[in-house]
């Protein structure tokens, strides 16, 4: 009735232990890789936290870092256990710890799978954080004199140059905000006064964009101002002009960058998870095979290894029973302590 029984003779047991030892040390390496991936993602998120309003969620990189460290610890411990498993004297001191250790390993694997899923699913929250952050960033673009926000212009300019994007969803976002500081506006000029009077909030709105939106691949020198006025520029039609400015919005550009980063990290973590599951199964087989050695004096004898002693359903029932017993014994002990009577069960 045991689940997936396999017969083990001495040679097979030794081979299993050696193979597991090697796999555990590779897994320590994989844990270090996951740790560094998490660290890299954390640094990348921090680099651009200005355009994300400093409110981005660091859950994914933090959990990757944690999982990497845990994986290193658990797998080096498992490596030590597998190394000692070949020597009956050394193995005897590990014997009582192995069952709880395997339970912890199973929990760790489940946690690793959840972290992998998170890597793929974080996209949605990142999108809304980026939308808000970029909107605020563009709003503070002109505040180069306000302490605490004076760096926003530089940040947005360098972002648009590096990611080849313009505005939040497109370059028209710049038409709706005042991105030129009042300090550099000549208020005696009629044009400035007209523009300020033309809208309710008294803002100086132009149909122009900052220089960082310019696309170097354009065959003509960059047109930044009077973008919707075809007659202001020779041989220019704003409806058909495509190469003048970057067409992508920065939200989409940043989102695709971070998504591809997290997707590749998720793929690597998935592979590591599969590796870890294999190691846990192998460790379980080694544990049961060594338990099954009937005669401790004769190391050459055959034994059986299995995943679960009974079938899945029966094991689950037995597990629930033991939980109930645990609960009952606690209850009865409490009653017994009060009334001074002997416990009925447990």
């Amino acid at each position: 009735m045991a689940l997936l029984k396999v017969k083990f003779d001495q040679k097979k047991r030794v081979k299993l232990a050696q193979g597991l030892w090697l796999m555990n040390w590779f897994s320590v390496l994989a844990g270090i890789i996951i740790f560094s991936l998490g660290l890299f993602l954390k640094i990348e998120l921090r680099k651009r936290s200005d355009v994300m309003n400093n409110s981005e969620s660091h859950f994914v990189p933090n959990s990757l870092i944690g999982m990497g460290l845990l994986s290193c610890v658990f797998n080096s411990l498992a490596g030590k256990i597998c190394y000692d498993a070949l020597d009956p004297a050394k193995y005897a001191k590990w014997k009582p710890w192995l069952k709880p250790y395997l339970a912890v390993c199973v929990l760790f694997n489940i946690a690793l799978l959840l972290v992998t899923l998170c890597c793929f699913l974080m996209r949605g929250s990142l999108e809304s954080t980026l939308a808000h952050g970029l909107k605020n960033g563009m709003k503070y673009y002109r505040d180069t004199d306000t302490p605490g926000r004076c760096f926003m212009k530089k940040t947005i300019d360098m972002l648009q140059i590096e990611f080849k994007c313009c505005g939040n969803n497109g370059f028209r976002d710049w038409f709706e905000i005042q991105w030129i500081s009042n300090r550099y506006l000549d208020f005696s000029s009629k044009e400035v006064k007209d523009r300020i009077k033309s809208n309710v909030d008294g803002r100086y709105l132009v149909d122009g964009v900052p220089f960082s939106c310019c696309n170097p691949s354009s065959p003509r020198p960059c047109i930044q101002y009077q973008l919707t006025n075809n007659s202001a520029h020779y041989s220019y039609d704003h409806q058909t002009e495509e190469l003048n400015l970057w067409v992508n919005g920065c939200r989409a550009a940043l989102l695709s960058y971070y998504s591809s980063l997290m997707n590749s990290m998720g793929a690597v973590t998935l592979l590591v998870w599969l590796f870890e599951v294999t190691i846990t199964i192998g460790l379980r087989y080694l544990h049961t095979a060594l338990e099954g050695v009937s005669n401790p004096e004769d190391p050459e004898c055959e034994s059986e290894g299995w995943l679960l002693e009974k079938s899945v359903l029966e094991t689950w029932k037995a597990f629930l029973e033991s939980l109930k017993k645990l609960g009952k014994s606690n209850q009865v002990e409490a009653e017994g302590a009060d009334a001074g009577q002997a416990p009925e069960a447990g």
């Binding site: 180069t144 004199d145 004076c150 212009k153 530089k154 300019d157 360098m158 140059i161 991105w179 030129i180 500081s181 300090r183 550099y184 506006l185 000549d186 000029s189 900052p210 220089f211 960082s212 310019c214 170097p216 691949s217 065959p219 003509r220 020198p221 960059c222 930044q224 520029h233 020779y234 041989s235």
Partner: protein, 351 residues
């Protein structure tokens, strides 16, 4: 026929020599690998900047030669490590005996020659960068407007990306842009009086303006970038002449690129110098080890003392032996063969 620079090597010093040689060989391999990486990096940088370097500039030869020198140094290091390891173990040494001689010759002639050549180039070539960059950047600036001329249509994009990435403007400063026409004639309105005036105002009929392309703009400036009419400060409201530098990039691309490439070349040069020193030490050590073990007849653990040397006899004697060997091969006189076989035979075991 006294050996050149002999060194008495009993067993313990021989073992010490082999162990020290093993360490030095790994250091040489590391230095060779670093020189390889450094020259690869320089090659990548040059590939990015090849439009801005005049084709006549010989600087591109340096990373190629350094690449070859680094590879040979890496090989020498690995061989040295293997040979010194084998010399401590009697079972593994015999296959190395035959190979070591030719390897030493190749290492000295090939590796040493390449390293000396690379070092020489690293010292001499950076001087040619100045004129090469001057010419290359001048050509790129002149062709900025030729976005429709095949062969030069990428000049605008590459120059814009260069100025954006390296934070520079023009060749020596932003005023370089005032002296060339960087707006393509295709986008100039022939009916505009201002355009006609400007074209007629100079001999060559160029449309010159006191403005710069957008890529010269400095994002650190607190105000939106001022690109046009830079010679007339009164046009721009509240233009603060005390702070002109923040608006555009102050440095010229010539100085920035020259500094960058010269720094890379000097780093490569120092790497090559270290590799050269290590290579000399390793080759000397290997030669002494080889000749000492030959003196024992290839028996490693022999307790006897042997002599290691650089050359079996002085240079004159070696040339005489080589000449005689060549002479015997040429003259097929059988009656003189037996007495003449003896001297060449004497010469052979010592070589």
């Amino acid at each position: 026929m006294a050996p050149v620079l002999p060194l008495v090597l009993p067993l313990q010093p021989r073992i010490r020599l082999a162990q020290g040689l093993w360490l030095l060989s790994w250091l040489l391999a590391l230095a060779g690998a670093l020189a390889l990486l450094c020259s690869g990096h320089l090659l990548a940088q040059l590939w990015h900047l090849h439009t801005f370097l005049a084709p006549s500039c010989p600087f591109a030869a340096l990373p190629h030669v350094a690449l070859a020198a680094g590879a040979v140094a890496l090989g020498t290091g690995l061989v040295g490590a293997g040979a010194s390891r084998a010399s401590l173990d009697a079972a593994h040494y015999p296959p190395w005996r035959k190979v070591l001689g030719p390897l030493l010759v190749v290492g000295t002639a090939g590796g040493g020659g390449l390293l000396v050549l690379a070092l020489g180039l690293a010292l001499a070539l950076p001087g040619s960068l100045d004129t090469g960059l001057e010419e290359g950047l001048g050509t790129a600036l002149a062709h900025y407007k030729d976005t429709e001329v095949p062969g030069h249509c990428h000049a605008k994009r590459l120059l814009d990306e260069l100025q954006l990435r390296h934070h520079c403007c023009g060749r020596h400063g932003y005023k370089d842009w005032f002296g060339i026409q960087w707006v393509s004639s295709r986008y100039l309105d022939p009916n505009d009086q201002d355009v006609v005036d400007r074209i007629q105002s100079n001999v060559e009929g160029l449309y010159l303006i006191d403005g710069v392309p957008f890529s010269c703009c400095n994002p650190h400036s607190p105000r939106p970038c001022l690109q046009s009419r830079l010679s007339e400060p009164h046009v721009h409201p509240l233009f603060d002449p005390r702070q002109p530098n923040l608006n555009l990039w102050a440095q010229g691309c010539h100085r920035v690129l020259l500094g960058q490439l010269q720094d890379l070349a000097s780093m490569l040069g120092s790497m090559l110098a270290v590799t050269f020193l290590l290579q000399i030490l390793v080759l000397l050590g290997l030669r002494y080890l080889q000749t000492a073990l030959e003196g024992l007849g290839g028996v490693i653990d022999g307790e006897g003392e042997t002599q290691g040397y650089l050359f079996p006899s002085g240079l004159k004697d070696m040339l005489k032996t080589a000449w005689r060997q060549g002479g015997v091969a040429d003259t097929p006189a059988p009656e003189e063969a037996p007495p003449e076989e003896a001297p060449p035979k004497e010469g052979l075991p010592e070589a």
